[in-house]
């Protein structure tokens, strides 16, 4: 018999895991086919895996293939197994294929993915619990276990999608996953790429319709109202009427603006890290001294943050005496405790410039790929890290003369000696903390590979001097002292700085960064601080984002693609709109992309039509119908339910922000305003105000409640859109204490009789032509060029092994190109166009396909047809 499988087809998992059962009973050949190859002659739609039996018959159902393997081994069918398999086919599969499609093809995550399968997962968990058996159909592993395990594995192997509370499902899944046949099947199908290994297959499949009954969608418009219990409603109403506030949780908080809203003592700081090679290079380019360059750019940076309304308590810099003092102190303590090593390093020295050429001061031919302009630390073409002395034909970047290899003494931080302390500290810190998964992963992989001594000095002039004899003309490596900048910036802000930085018991330190900075914040600095033994406050929550792409490619300063901090203010789009959109697409959990069209869409739909519309209507009704005074409110059960919904969403907002899920918490704000709009729409106060006494009272209640929701939203918005928040609060004349505190309950902050101010629209519509001209200006249309470059720079199929693939946006863009080109070719063929012309277009198509394959990390020649393994 012959088994046909396809790369990334999820059905291969259970089938391969079950295949072992048939070993010795029949000869099994395995062939790999393309996802669109029709193996079964009588099926219109391609289907894999398929088992062709020796009789010529086909089994095209995954469960039936597994069942056949089990039957061959002498297993007997039973009711319970049948029941699980029927459930798998009718209930689990529709939910699961939707979830996988959202996750893998559409790049959704979290509840958007889990939402559709949660009910099914709970069902399995309950069944396991009820039976009190380790396996689905009894004491031993059987067909049902393999089929369900195989179906679930791609999703559940990511712990994020295996809810912890489903403990029975958890242990069942772990037991099976560790068994040899399952493990082997998982490796074969997912190739250590996780669920993304399914992408090539899934993206060729039609989008599965969501499991019936419940629409699973990202768009909150269709959000189902949560079901509320009587108690929830009662509690919300009591809080509203009596102004009760539950005790705030005793948990300090990071998101600084949010922390302040919760009245937690917060210090919010940032700064420019100014030392290092990059500064020296830039100074030379601009003909300034390093200090002048730093002064110039510090102001530019500070202005950008000011424009964006980022409310740092202090925005400092590293070129200060405090920095030298604290860095040297930490160094001395490390030296005294034996955590500093000395070693000789071979380095390039330019005799004409009379100095060692660090990092980017040297260029030459890449020893790996032969690229002519490789930098001293890394090759831009092949991306490999280079040891500067290995460069062929090295050149001093300043004077272009050829440097010579000289040895130079350097200091090393003895990380291997500190590794144990680090692990102990991580063991205490990580569990239960809010470190993002990517940060945990990066630290774990560094530790897994073992720490090596790290050079902390450089042959430069621009840096913190090294206080050690023989090192007078050297400075500390920027990554040794940059993270100490946080301490020195605080020291410049307050002489009480040690209350923040040598107080780990009372201070929770949250650090925000992109994932490339994780090793320095989560590993190198903690090692320095632990080795210094001075009771330093170490990072409690390391919050790392993924990367933000620009339109269909990467931001590139050198090619002028993208909008950079200083350009945002020239776009005519207010800072708050930028803040809103950038947080709306904040790359939490996975890369995201900035898109002009999407920005326009979100501004016009979410801000203008949803949030702005609601707040404006609420205020206008008070002005127009009630002379600017908040009317009396007499709550009906409908109003009470709304109160409870708003309270529930407010709670969710708090929970999310406490977990630093900034992007998701923004959705809660929009949901509340959506509830509000719906409420106004249903109750039609503009009609009732003209009706009977009772109708007018109803109009009053609806207006009063709506304007109070608007007041609540103004406070919730503060971390996201401070200017808009202040504008709303001024329009509604929100009493000052209510402006700056956010409680966990929704209270009546604008009581009957409160007079509001003048109400005016909050947001402007973004127009298509305006956005189109911005897109042109910031080079989003240079896709072709980007792709071209990408293709040129892409390494050979080695990528596939390292698992590096292009960003999903790039892949998507390429796929669109392929589709477009495919259509051109088809059209030409249909018109029976000139042969040469067709051939030219076909060549283009093939080239695009190759680029796509490279971008997806696959070898370019995808085998067509059947291939024997």
């Amino acid at each position: 018999m012959r088994l046909f499988v396809s790369e990334g087809a999820p059905g291969s998992l259970p089938v391969l895991a079950a295949a072992g059962r048939a070993r010795g009973r029949a000869e099994l050949l395995i062939s790999t086919v393309g996802p669109e190859d029709c193996v079964v002659p009588f099926l219109t739609r391609p289907k894999v895996p398929v088992l062709q039996l020796d009789s010529g018959n086909y089994l095209f159902s995954t469960s039936a293939i597994c069942r056949y393997f089990f039957l061959l081994s002498g297993w007997e069918q039973d009711d319970l197994t049948n029941q699980w398999l029927e459930w798998e086919a009718t209930e689990l599969q529709p939910a699961l294929s939707a979830a996988l499609y959202y996750l893998v093809v559409q790049g959704k995550k979290g509840d958007d993915v889990l939402g559709s399968v949660r009910r099914a997962l709970t069902h399995i968990d309950h069944s396991l619990r009820r039976q009190n058996c380790p396996f689905l159909a009894g004491e031993t592993e059987s067909l049902a276990d393999i089929v369900l395990w195989g179906a679930l594995y791609p999703l559940l192997q990511d712990p994020a999608y295996l809810p912890e509370e489903l403990s029975a499902l958890h242990s069942w899944f772990q037991t099976l996953s560790t068994q040899e046949p399952c493990q082997r099947a998982a490796e074969t199908v997912l190739k250590q790429q996780g669920v993304l290994a399914l992408r090539p297959y899934l993206q060729k499949q039609p989008q599965p319709s969501p499991p019936e009954g419940r629409a699973v969608t990202n768009e909150p418009e269709e959000e189902e109202l949560a079901t509320l219990s009587e108690e929830e409603i009662a509690m919300a109403v009591t809080a509203w009427e009596k102004g009760l506030e539950s005790l705030p949780p005793l948990r300090p908080q990071q998101n600084p603006v949010y922390s302040r809203l919760r009245q937690w003592n917060t210090l919010y700081l940032c700064g420019t890290d100014e030392y290092g090679t990059a500064t020296e290079t830039k100074a030379m380019e601009e003909g300034l001294t390093p200090q002048e360059i730093c002064d110039k750019y510090h102001i530019i940076h500070a202005d950008i943050y000011r424009w964006f309304n980022i409310s740092f308590d202090v925005f400092g810099r590293t070129t200060t005496p405090q920095q030298t003092k604290i860095t040297q102190d930490i160094f001395q303590r490390l030296l005294a405790r034996g955590f500093v090593l000395q070693d000789t390093v071979e380095q390039l020295r330019c005799e004409r410039c009379a100095r060692f050429l660090a990092d980017r001061f040297v260029e030459g031919v890449c020893p790996f790929c032969g690229f002519e302009e490789a930098r001293g630390d890394q090759c831009d073409k092949c991306g490999k890290l280079i040891n500067a002395v290995e460069l062929k034909k090295p050149q001093c970047k300043v004077c272009r003369s050829c440097p010579v290899v000289k040895s130079s003494q350097h200091l090393f931080l003895d990380l291997p000696k500190l590794e144990k302390r680090l692990e102990e500290w991580l063991g205490k810190t990580l569990p239960g903390s809010d470190w993002t998964p990517n940060a945990r992963f990066i630290i774990r992989s560094w530790l897994r590979d073992g720490l090596k001594p790290r050079c902390i000095t450089r042959d430069l002039k621009w840096g913190t001097p090294v206080p050690l004899e023989g090192f007078e003309d050297k400075v500390f490596y920027v990554w040794f002292d940059a993270t100490i900048g946080y301490l020195s910036i605080t020291a410049n802000y307050t002489d009480q700085w040690e209350k923040w930085w040598k107080n780990p018991e009372q201070v929770d330190l949250y650090q925000f960064m992109a994932k490339d900075n994780v090793p320095f914040h989560g590993l190198v600095f903690p090692c320095s601080a632990l080795g210094a033994e001075d009771n330093y406050t170490l990072v409690s929550h390391l919050i790392a984002t993924e990367y933000l792409n620009y339109e269909d490619g990467k931001f590139s300063k050198s090619r002028g693609v993208g909008v950079f901090g200083d350009m945002a203010q020239d776009t005519g789009i207010p800072a708050d709109i930028w803040r809103f959109y950038l947080l709306y697409i904040r790359p939490e959990g996975q890369d995201s992309a900035f898109s002009w069209t999407d920005m326009l869409l979100k501004n016009n739909s979410e801000l203008l039509n949803n949030l702005g519309n609601f707040i404006n209507r609420a205020g206008m009704f008070v002005s127009k119908f009630f002379g600017g005074y908040v009317p009396e409110m007499v709550l009906t059960p409908d109003d009470q339910r709304l109160l409870a919904h708003v309270t529930l969403e407010l709670r969710r907002y708090h929970q999310l922000l406490e977990k630093v899920r900034i992007r998701d918490a923004l959705r809660s704000i929009l949901t509340i305003s959506r509830h509000g709009n719906q409420y106004i729409q249903v109750n039609e106060p503009w009609k009732r105000i003209k009706g009977s006494e009772a109708d007018r009272q109803r109009a009053g209640t609806v207006t009063g409640l709506a304007v109070n929701i608007a007041a609540l939203l103004s406070v919730m918005l503060q971390p996201y859109m401070p200017t808009v928040s202040a504008t709303i609060q001024a329009q509604l004349q929100l009493p000052p204490p209510a402006c700056s505190i956010l409680l966990t309950n929704f209270l009546c902050t604008l009581p009957a009789g409160h007079q509001i101010g003048t109400v005016s629209p909050l947001f402007q519509k973004l127009e298509n032509d305006q956005i189109e001209s911005l897109r042109q200006r910031f080079g989003g249309g240079q896709l072709e060029e980007t792709l071209d470059l990408k293709a040129k720079m892409s390494p050979k199929p080695a990528v596939a092994e390292t698992g590096t693939t292009a960003a999903p946006q790039q892949i998507q863009a390429l796929m669109d190109e392929v589709t477009k080109q495919g259509n051109i070719v088809r059209e030409l063929k249909a018109q029976k166009a000139d042969k040469n012309q067709v051939a030219a277009e076909v060549a283009k198509l093939l080239d695009l396909k190759k680029q796509l394959a490279v971008a997806e990390g696959k070898p370019p020649e995808v085998p067509k047809g059947k291939k024997k393994k």
Binding site: P41, T44, R45, Y68, L71, Q77, N82, E86, T90
Partner: protein, 174 residues
């Protein structure tokens, strides 16, 4: 036809005298059977297979490993594809596939009548009744199989008998 009604039909065709009571679960009205000696069984094909065993007609589930797997495959096909919210288009794809599959077969497993034939017949009945003469001719093999099953003793019961014309009307149909 509701699943419970279909299972009652099946009981009769299997010669089971004592009728079971079925409850229905969820939006899709999945049948549930409370058995005397154990937990309840849920799902049309699960219960159907159970009834077959109750009637001591295990051969209807297939006799070899291959046949058993094929029977279950078509039972799954029945509840996922035939019972799915099929659009008109889906049904035609389904009939086309089935037509091509049945080209060299008397029954779904080949030469033996099984539970798969019974349940596929019950499931397809509502679509086949609505086919035009031309369509029935287009899906000639399905028509032949369907006509054969509806005349199999004890299967059709109160369901309407679908008329198939024996001589071809549309000679150049494709």
């Amino acid at each position: 036809m509701a699943a419970a009604a279909e299972l009652s039909l099946l009981e009769k065709s299997l010669g089971l005298s004592k009728g079971n009571k079925y409850s229905a679960q969820g939006e899709r009205q999945i049948p549930v059977l409370q058995t005397n000696n154990g937990p309840s069984l849920t799902g049309l094909t699960t219960i159907a297979a159970h009834l077959v065993k109750q009637a001591n007609k295990e051969y209807l589930l297939g006799s070899t490993a291959e046949e058993k797997a094929i029977v279950q495959q078509w039972l799954e096909y029945r509840v996922t594809r035939v019972d799915g919210h099929s659009s008109k288009n889906d049904i035609h794809t389904l009939l086309k596939d089935l037509n091509s599959y049945l080209e060299d077969k008397v029954y779904l497993t080949g030469y033996n009548f099984t539970l798969a034939d019974i349940l596929l017949y019950y499931g397809l009945h509502r679509f086949i009744v609505d086919l035009t003469v031309q369509e029935k001719e287009k899906y000639l093999n399905v028509s032949r199989w369907f006509c054969h099953i509806q005349h199999y003793p004890g299967i059709r019961q109160h369901l309407s008998s679908v008329v198939f014309i024996k001589n071809r009307l549309y000679t150049n149909s494709h």
